[in-house]
């Protein structure tokens, strides 16, 4: 491995102009796509072994996820929380951190928004809505930001800590929703008090998809700008490459780690805000549906690029949107989606070993062929 890196200089001027640039860029698109297809292929073999038809599976997924205007609405409504959840993985990943507990920030952000909405039920929406957004983002940001702080100041492994905190968050939510914050009128499903109509988030006009999607896409674009076009993003990428070197260079590594994790957590909190205000109408156990975990896979598939997260999240949202129909039509258990995600995840991680192995993607090595 050392020989290989020594023979290819880190920065080479592209000798083949536009074609060379295209070749270099396409590696990051083609390899993940190929890995995705391999994951699908392994899953198809798995289905065949069960005597189920993969063609039927993918045809039904297409129909229920992307086939009609209605299925697109269903898919896109699920995309919003997945985008936020994936950003919560992708932002810390730029610093080399594997944070997988976004679910905790989603859940607590949702509870914070629901509680604030119940508290400010009498005041005008102009005050209540910003307060709800802020409380969701602050709670989410503190939750995941503390994972970053623990990592930097105490050396606590962020992967384990964040997942443990997700379990703690769900227990906290159950405690709050069934105890102090419970609306006495919610009998079967303990919830916070239902939100007043003016505090709820509606649909994007003409789309029948709630505003969360627009904000989530905007956040992806802003996150991309932050990482690719600002000094902070540049510093974060340096620190992610080699933390010790970054410290020696005098970069504020601690502040970067806490800042990026807190930002990711704040965005996951926003996912909780939109789930409560646009989907459920109150905070309850429905907040913990696993969006945070699907977000991990999305971020890895998108190679932690915030813009690539958008199409990948739509694709996976389509799979989740179609899972109900597939369960009924093909008599498959609901865990089928999880199995598919597992195969795709493993395939994408294995593809990491292929980067730099193909001459096609390295213009500087074309002539030596």
């Amino acid at each position: 491995m050392t020989d290989q890196t020594a023979s290819t200089p880190l920065v080479t001027p592209s000798p083949n102009g536009f074609l060379g640039m295209l070749a270099r860029r396409s590696e990051a698109v083609i390899l993940p796509l190929a890995a995705l297809l391999v994951g699908f292929a392994v899953f198809s073999i798995f289905l065949l072994l069960q005597g189920k038809s993969p063609t039927e599976f993918f045809a039904l997924t297409y129909r229920a996820g992307f086939g009609t205007a209605f299925s697109w609405q269903n898919t896109l409504s699920r995309t919003a929380p997945l985008l936020f959840a994936a950003l919560c993985v992708a932002l810390p990943a730029r610093l080399g951190l594997v944070v997988i507990g976004g679910e905790g920030a989603i859940v607590l952000g949702g509870v914070a928004a629901g509680a604030m909405g119940a508290l400010l039920a009498q005041s005008s929406g102009l005050i209540a809505v910003p307060m709800m957004v802020a409380s969701a983002m602050i709670v989410g940001g503190l939750w995941i930001g503390s994972v970053g702080a623990l990592r930097y100041y105490r050396g606590v492994n962020e992967t384990i800590a964040s997942l443990l905190m997700a379990y703690i968050a769900i227990a906290l939510m159950n405690h709050l929703v069934e105890g102090p914050l419970r609306d006495p009128a919610s009998l079967n499903k303990p919830s916070t008090a239902p939100l007043a109509d003016n505090l709820r988030v509606g649909d994007i006009p003409g789309w029948e998809v709630h505003w969360g999607l627009a904000f989530a896409v905007l956040c992806c674009v802003l996150a991309w700008v932050l990482i690719e076009k600002t000094t902070w993003g540049f510093a974060a990428r340096i620190a992610g490459g080699n933390m010790r070197a970054a410290q020696v260079q005098g970069l504020p590594v601690g502040r970067l780690i806490v800042g990026f994790t807190a930002l990711g957590g704040a965005l996951a909190g926003l996912a909780g805000y939109f789930e409560v205000t646009a989907v459920h109408g109150a905070a309850n156990a429905s907040l913990a549906t696993g969006y945070g975990y699907t977000g991990i896979l999305i971020a890895f598939l998108a190679r932690h690029n915030p813009l690539a997260i958008i199409p990948v999240a739509i694709l996976l949202a389509g799979f989740e949107a179609s899972s109900g129909l597939i369960q009924r039509r093909m008599d498959l258990p609901d865990a089928t989606t999880l199995v598919l995600q597992g195969f795709v995840f493993i395939s994408i991680l294995m593809s990491d070993t292929l980067y730099g192995r193909f001459k096609v993607f390295a213009p500087e090595r074309w002539r030596s062929a």
């Binding site: 930097y152 050396g155 105890g179 258990p333 989606t337 999880l338 995600q341 597992g342 991680l349 070993t353």
Partner: protein, 306 residues
């Protein structure tokens, strides 16, 4: 009920510690084996759940709980083997592969386990050490499962293996320095893969205990992070198998806190007591980690402590 007063609580926690600790013990022993070889397998949560499902299904189909345990161990070894083989590839991150294996393990367990949620499988046998007492709570607390005893023996056996045998030394060398291991003519990737497979088998047995003894049924909520907590527990136990035994008992006691308080009628803040093991794990991680000095006892090649 006899008048035991508040003694009921420590007694129930002791009994709970013995009952609840076994899965922690097996998973953490497996993880010690894997991490000592220089690799971390975060996927043991998935292995634990898959082990629980396969043990329950096989025990139900064959009528023998021990065949179930065997199946869980075999399934766990396969999961560990896959993890090890994938990590054999250069530039593949073992932590991320663990997350993927966690998702796949849970997915496959829920997928194949659906038909076994209803049926009742035979339990693993247990030995009553409470014969000398006629207090029912004491008897219940001292009803010890055979797997717990096996786990305790294995903990001491593994401690001895790492201390005094060639196999133990080989694993430790591979875990401390890939270069030194190569210089000695060892094959680090192969040894790590075998250690991960063996670790997976341990975690599978931990899962078998969950579904075949306590709580003793199979459902999708059978483990909520116990495999993950066991991985954290290994850091706390400083990669020492005997310390894992003590840590597992401590965590088992914390896990028994919620149900115990509920059984004596404390319902206020039930969910918060439920979170006690996670909070304890996190607290222990914070207390025992350090940002500056390398952790004592940590294998040199381990990615989480580098």
């Amino acid at each position: 009920m006899e008048d035991l007063g508040l003694w009921v609580i420590p007694l129930a926690i002791l009994g709970g510690a013995i009952r609840v600790s076994t899965p922690f013990l097996f998973v953490s022993l497996g993880e010690v084996l894997t991490e000592r070889s220089g690799r971390i397998n975060l996927g043991l949560e998935g292995t634990l759940v898959f082990g629980a499902m396969s043990a329950y299904a096989i025990a139900y189909l064959t009528g023998s709980p021990w065949l179930g345990v065997l199946a869980a161990a075999a399934g766990g070894a396969v999961f560990g083997l896959i993890h090890g083989l994938i990590c054999w590839l250069p530039r593949v991150n073992d932590i991320a592969v663990g997350i993927a294996m966690m998702i796949l393990g849970m997915g496959l367990a829920f997928y194949f386990g659906k038909p076994y949620v209803q049926p009742v499988a035979p339990d693993l046998p247990s030995i009553s050490f409470g014969w000398w007492s006629d207090v029912p709570q004491v008897k219940a607390a001292l009803r010890v499962n055979v797997l717990f005893l096996i786990g305790a023996v294995l903990a001491f056996a593994m401690w001895w293996m790492f201390r005094a045998t060639k196999v133990g030394l080989v694993i430790r060398v591979v875990g401390d320095s890939t270069d030194a291991a190569r210089a000695m003519g060892l094959r680090p990737a192969l040894i790590r893969t075998l250690a991960t497979a063996a670790g997976g088998a341990f975690a599978g047995v931990g899962g078998a205990y969950l579904s075949l003894f306590y709580p003793g049924s199979w459902n999708e909520g059978i483990s909520s992070g116990q495999g993950l907590m066991a991985v954290a527990l290994v850091i706390f136990a400083r990669w020492n198998a005997v310390a894992c035994f003590g840590a597992a008992l401590l965590f088992g006691g914390a896990g028994a806190l919620g149900p115990t308080l509920q059984s004596v009628g404390v319902s206020e803040g039930y969910y918060l007591f439920f979170a006690a093991p996670y909070v304890l794990t996190l607290g222990v991680l914070i207390a025992t980690s350090s940002p500056t000095r390398a952790m004592t006892g940590a294998p040199g090649e381990l990615s989480i402590t580098k």
